[in-house]
Symmetry: C2
């Protein structure tokens, strides 16, 4: 199933409509693993639709997140970054170059249960972010 069908399926459940902007935003986001900011997504989309507006990008990123097609990564930084991969996974970011990579989540499946036992909360979800130096930056002088 290609991106367009995935989007159509989600959209038809509500009363949203399929638009070029919407599709291209999702499409571009699914193409990369760089976890771009809203501005970077905007620049990517601009190459396809010259006069797209920033507001449209923001509105659609939010909509796509509500539809469960995109993940907003917004912890600890001034601005959010977005991820077209909604499989369960964690992220690790380099403190020097801000590169972000994915980590499969499977290793720590029991975190929610452990936390529920420890706190009495009904735990719905959790987010983890790791910080450090990526392999490339480890060899270089600290900036």
């Amino acid at each position: 199933m290609d991106t367009k069908d995935i989007l159509k399926n989600k959209i038809n459940a509500g009363r949203q409509r399929m638009t070029t902007q919407r599709l291209i935003i999702l499409d571009e986001l699914k193409k990369v693993t760089s976890h771009p900011s809203a501005y970077e997504v905007y620049r990517m989309v601009q190459r396809k639709i010259a006069n797209v507006s920033f507001g449209t990008v923001y509105r659609n990123l939010r909509l796509l997140e509500d539809l469960g097609l995109v993940q907003e990564l917004n912890y600890g930084k001034k601005f959010s970054r977005y991820d077209g991969n909604t499989d369960n996974h964690y992220h690790i970011s380099c403190e020097k170059c801000e590169r972000m990579d994915d980590i499969p989540i499977s290793i720590w499946k029991r975190l929610n249960k452990n936390t529920s036992n420890a706190t009495g909360y009904e735990v719905k979800a959790h987010r983890i972010e790791f910080y450090g130096l990526c392999p490339k930056c480890q060899g270089e002088k600290r900036g």
Copy 2:
């Protein structure tokens, strides 16, 4: 060692100065476990210094964080919340009432090492936030 001495010790290492505002901000933050926002800290400090300014609160929260006396919790929300407890611990927040509680970190000490092995990063730190319903909200209708 009381809060004033803790602050003095940290401050004397640099060329900062001890001020009433600085001390009261730290003092108020260390008194509570509610993880207040900058605005809430401002209101708390206002009760002690009527004409304290918002800018001073922000500046000092940042300074106190740089000194390692305060933790800024800023992931996933529009505004940061602050924690006067800098012992290693995670947080869990209620999706309904926004209450935040602490979780001791000891259970998952090996996370950094596991992640380093999995990604090749030199892992310096990590942050986890859990989401769910606190015991009080579990029984109530969903809002």
